[in-house]
C-alpha cells in the first residue's frame, strides 16, 4: 500500500490593485465606483480624484477583492469612458488547492 502525495495546484489571485485612470467627468465618481464594485469578486472600490480637467478626471482607483479579473476591469472602464494609464500597485495572493 503506497501513499502518493496528491499534486498541489498553485494559483495566484489578485487581491488588490491600484490603477491610475483617466476617465470622463460623466458618469460621476459615485456611479463609477458603484459600477466597478458590481464586478464579480470585487469587494471594495476606492476612487480618489487626483486632477480635474474640462472633460476628464484623473483618478486613482483601488480595487480589493478575491481573484480580481483585470481584463474585466479594463473592459468595464472602457465601456464607461475610462482608460487605464498605469497599474501602480498589485497585491497577489497565492492560493493553493489540492488537485484530485
Amino acid at each position: 500500500m503506497s501513499f502518493r502525495r496528491k499534486p498541489l495546484k498553485v494559483q495566484h489571485s489578485i487581491k488588490r490593485v491600484v490603477l491610475d485612470v483617466l476617465k470622463l467627468r460623466d458618469p460621476p465618481l459615485p456611479e463609477f465606483a458603484s459600477t466597478l464594485c458590481s464586478l464579480p469578486n470585487v469587494e471594495d472600490v476606492k476612487v480618489s480624484l487626483v486632477e480635474i480637467d474640462q472633460n476628464t478626471e484623473s483618478v486613482k482607483v483601488t480595487i480589493e477583492g478575491r481573484n480580481i479579473d483585470l481584463d474585466n476591469v479594463q473592459k468595464l472602464m472602457k465601456n464607461h469612458g475610462a482608460v487605464i494609464h498605469s497599474i501602480d500597485e498589485v497585491v497577489v495572493q497565492k492560493e493553493s488547492s489540492i488537485n484530485p
Binding site: L24, D26, P27, Q54, N55, T56, N79, G81, V83
Partner: protein, 201 residues
C-alpha cells in the same frame, strides 16, 4: 420588478450623463407654448371668421398638431444627433480612445430620442387639449359658441400653467411667470380681433 428598477436607474444615469433633463424641459415649455399659441390662433381666427362647423376647426387644429409634431420629432432628433456627435468626438479626443458601445454612446442615443419625443409630443399635446371642446361639439355634446369660450379658456389656462412651471423652475414668483405667458396669448387675441374680427363674439 427588479428589471424595471434597473431600467429606471439606467435612464436616470443617462439623463445625468447627457444633462438632457434641462434641455428637455426647455423643449417642453417652448414647444408646449407653440402648441397652445397655434391652437389659440386657430380658435380665435375661426371665431373671428364665424366658423360654425366644429369639424373644420378640429381638422385645422389636428393638421397643425401633426405638422408641429412631425417637425418637432425630426427637427429635434437631427439637431440633437448632430450636437451629440460633436460632444462624443470631443470626449473621444479628451481620453484619446474611441467611445463605441460605451455608456456615453448609449446615453447619447437615448438623449436624441428623448429630445425628439418631448419636442414632437409637447406641442401636439397642448394643441389637442385646447381642441377637446370642439371634438365634443362634433358629437353634439356642446354648442359651437360654448366650445369657442371653453377652448379659449383652456388655451389660456395651458399658457398660465406653463408659466407657473417656469416660475417654479426659476424659483421665483410663479404667478408673475404665469401672467407673462397669458399676456403673450392676449397679444394674439388682440391682433386677431383688431385685424379682422369685428364680427366676432
Amino acid at each position: 420588478m427588479g428589471s424595471l428598477n434597473r431600467i429606471i436607474n439606467r435612464i436616470r444615469l443617462y439623463i445625468k450623463i447627457t444633462h438632457i433633463g434641462d434641455i428637455a424641459r426647455r423643449y417642453f415649455v417652448q414647444n408646449g407654448m407653440d402648441g397652445s399659441m397655434t391652437a389659440l390662433g386657430i380658435i380665435l381666427g375661426s371665431w373671428a371668421a364665424k366658423v360654425k362647423e366644429p369639424y373644420v376647426i378640429v381638422m385645422a387644429g389636428l393638421g397643425a398638431c401633426l405638422a408641429m409634431g412631425v417637425s418637432g420629432l425630426f427637427g429635434a432628433y437631427i439637431t440633437e444627433k448632430a450636437e451629440r456627435r460633436r460632444i462624443i468626438k470631443d470626449l473621444e479626443e479628451s481620453i484619446l480612445s474611441d467611445l463605441d458601445d460605451s455608456l456615453q454612446q448609449s446615453a447619447s442615443e437615448f438623449a436624441q430620442v428623448l429630445a425628439a419625443l418631448v419636442d414632437g409630443l409637447s406641442p401636439a399635446l397642448t394643441a389637442i387639449i385646447s381642441l377637446i371642446p370642439f371634438i365634443i361639439s362634433m358629437f353634439g355634446g356642446l354648442s359651437i359658441w360654448s366650445s369657442y369660450v371653453i377652448s379659449t379658456i383652456l388655451a389660456f389656462s395651458e399658457l398660465f400653467a406653463l408659466g407657473l412651471f417656469l416660475g417654479h423652475v426659476a424659483g421665483e414668483k410663479m404667478i408673475m411667470y404665469g401672467l407673462q405667458m397669458v399676456i403673450a396669448g392676449m397679444i394674439i387675441a388682440f391682433i386677431l380681433f383688431a385685424v379682422g374680427g369685428y364680427g366676432a363674439v
